[in-house]
Amino acid sequence: MSAQPKYKLETDYLNSWVESGAYSLVVNRTISQKLRRLRIDLVDVNYVLRHGQVVRSDMLESRGLWDVLGSTADDIAVELTVAVISSVCEVELLQIITVERRGR
C-alpha cells in the first residue's frame, strides 16, 4: 500500500473546491505585481490549486494557512501560500514562494 501524503485531506479539499467553482480567489496588489515579475498568471495559479498538493498547514486568524506545491500546464514548478476561509468560500493568494522553470 502506498503511503498517503501528509496533508491529503487538505489537498483533496482544495483541489475539489477549486474544481467545483464554488470559491472566490482573492488577490492583493503586492501579489498581483509579483505574478507579473515572476512571469506567471492566475491561470497558472488556478492550475496549481486544482492539481497541486498541500505541503504545509497552519492557521492564521481562524483561516487555514496552506502552502501548495504543484506544476503548471507548462511544467513550471510553483509553490505558493494561500489562506482559506471555508465559511465564505474564499481562497486568498498570500505569497508565491518559488517559481522554477525546469530546463530553461
Partner: protein, 195 residues
Amino acid sequence: MTINQHGAGGEITRVVDQFDAVDLGAPFKVVLHKAVRVTLKYSIPDTDGLISQIAISRVLNKRKLSGKEIHFIRKAIKAKQKELAQRIEMSAEHLSRCESGAMVMSPTSEKLLRIYALKTAWKLQKLELCEETRKLEQMLDRLFDMMKPVSVFDPDDVLELHFNRVPKTPSNGEDLPPNIDGDGHWNADELKSAA
C-alpha cells in the same frame, strides 16, 4: 465608473462596474462586469469557470489565433503541450513553434484546435447538462480520444449504419410501436451499426 458599496464600517467592499482582469495573463483584454469585489484586494468568483469561459469565447471569435493566444488557450483548458499536440495530430515541437510565434498554424489545424478547446473548456465548466448535450459531449470525446480512421478494410464488408425513430417523450422503458409520423427524432442504433 459607478461603484456599488457594500457593508457598513470597516473595510468597504465595492463591486466595480468593470474590472480589467490583467492578472489572468490573457493576450487580449478580459473585462469582468459587475462581478469583482474590490478593496485593497480584489476577489474573482469561480476563477476556474471564468478561465474556461474565456477560452470558449476566444475560440468562437473569428480572429486568427496568435501564438500567445494558442498558449493561453492551452493553459486555460489545462492541457500540456504534448497532450494537445497529440489530440490535434501535430508534433509537440510544431505546436511549441506555433506558440512561440516562430511558425503560423495552418487553418485546418487551427480549426481542429478550436473544436478541441471548445469541447474541453465546455466540459471543464461542469454545467448541468441535458441528455442531448451529454450525448454531444460523448460524441466529441469519441472523435478526439478514441477514433483512429481505419484505411484498410475488406471492400466486401459493406458499411451499415442503423437508425430508429425515438419519441420525444420518454417511454418509461416500455417497448413502443414504431414511431413514423409522431413527434420524435432520429437516433443511431449503435449496437447494430457496430456489428
